[in-house]
Symmetry: C2
Subunit: 187 residues, 2 copies
DNA sequence: TTCACTTTTTGCCAAATGGCAAACGGTTTC
DNA sequence: GAAACCGTTTGCCATTTGGCAAAAAGTGAA
């Protein structure tokens, strides 16, 4: 819980009653490895903060290949950037055992209605996250496979050895076997 | 001006006095081809709506190559997603003659302070734009060069023949000569 | 028109990456 | 321990893309 509060305080101010309110809405949930937090085609209206573990956001491209679009690790917020009301085009899966702080949609909206400045904080978080993603993906496009893998190692240093190779490969846009060869030379 | 208002109304409601206020703050500016709208290392605190023309957002990577990170075309908002106070890591250049509606930082902030819901509208715009970019860049990473060029053609159908090849190549993460060969087969 | 300049195309070859399938290594189950 | 299973590595070769440089095409100015 403290992790979440510190995270939020990095984006704006909150007083003690507000902090207590937030804490009262969060439900700590254990999510075992390989479980789906969100399934493709279903709605995604909860919000979660990752206390521990890693999840991935995936979809199938038009060739039927499973693409890992992004990894989300500790101390990050997991929320729907699209639209609550529409079915998710992507699914979200725990790739290690996870502990999450989960907020229902009602509770999350209540925070929005109760805490002045809440929307501002959430918007800052969204904006920052999306900028990060855009910047990182842009850089990925330009670089060769080895450099991409090094970039991945820098961004997710703890992931390399606890995540299937195929997930990383599709995230980087490389085949599994190429990545295996690259990894031999890089590590 | 009408274009901007319609664009904004797509994200939220505005009444006539609010629309008039917005209109009173906008300055239509002609920007000739190749001119810089924002220079790297300087601050970027204005906001602009593109009435006509195309700009590109660029930076130099660590190998000293100029990378075109994104194209922005008609009926789009051009704003600083980072921080007003920090120097821009990127520069923005008109790549065709442009007509822009420009807001100064003061005026833009006044809109924020005067129009209830303004921040909500702006946030929706930001969010949508960033999601689009992330999604598109993600897709680019996975595909081969020919597919990437086709994706570019779909997204920016009018750009292919009025923009230097080198800009498109660096946007797609391909060399100029490869793109030239690809283009021969695709068109 | 001619010249100078820039951008695009092409040729040649090298390097990187993909595709496929087999081999390898580790883990679980019986 | 043997068998089955899964993910990773490797070998082999085809294809794609890059690097470099020259030629060609386009553009603008004198």
């Amino acid at each position: 819980m403290e992790e979440l509060i510190n995270y939020l305080l990095g984006f704006g101010n909150l007083n003690q009653p507000q902090i207590d309110l937030i804490a009262s809405k969060a439900t700590e949930t254990a999510f075992p490895k390989d479980e789906y937090f969100v399934e493709a085609g279903k709605r995604f209206d909860r919000t979660a903060f990752i206390l521990e573990g890693v999840l991935r956001i995936c979809y199938y491209n038009n060739k039927g290949e499973e693409i890992t679009k992004y990894f989300v690790d500790e101390n990050r917020l997991l929320a729907n950037p699209y639209n609550y009301h529409e079915p998710m085009p992507e699914y979200i899966q725990a790739i290690t055992d996870c502990r999450l702080l989960v907020f229902s949609r009602q509770d999350w909206e209540e925070l929005s209605n109760t805490i002045i400045g809440w929307d501002g904080i959430v918007n800052k978080i969204f904006r920052k996250a999306l900028i990060e993603k855009t910047d990182r993906r842009s850089a990925l496009v330009t670089e060769d496979a080895t450099t991409r893998y090094k970039m991945f190692l820098e961004k997710f240093p703890t992931l390399a050895n606890r995540v299937p190779l195929s997930y990383i490969a599709s995230y980087l846009g490389i085949t599994q076997s190429s990545l295996s060869r690259i990894r031999k030379n890089v590590r």
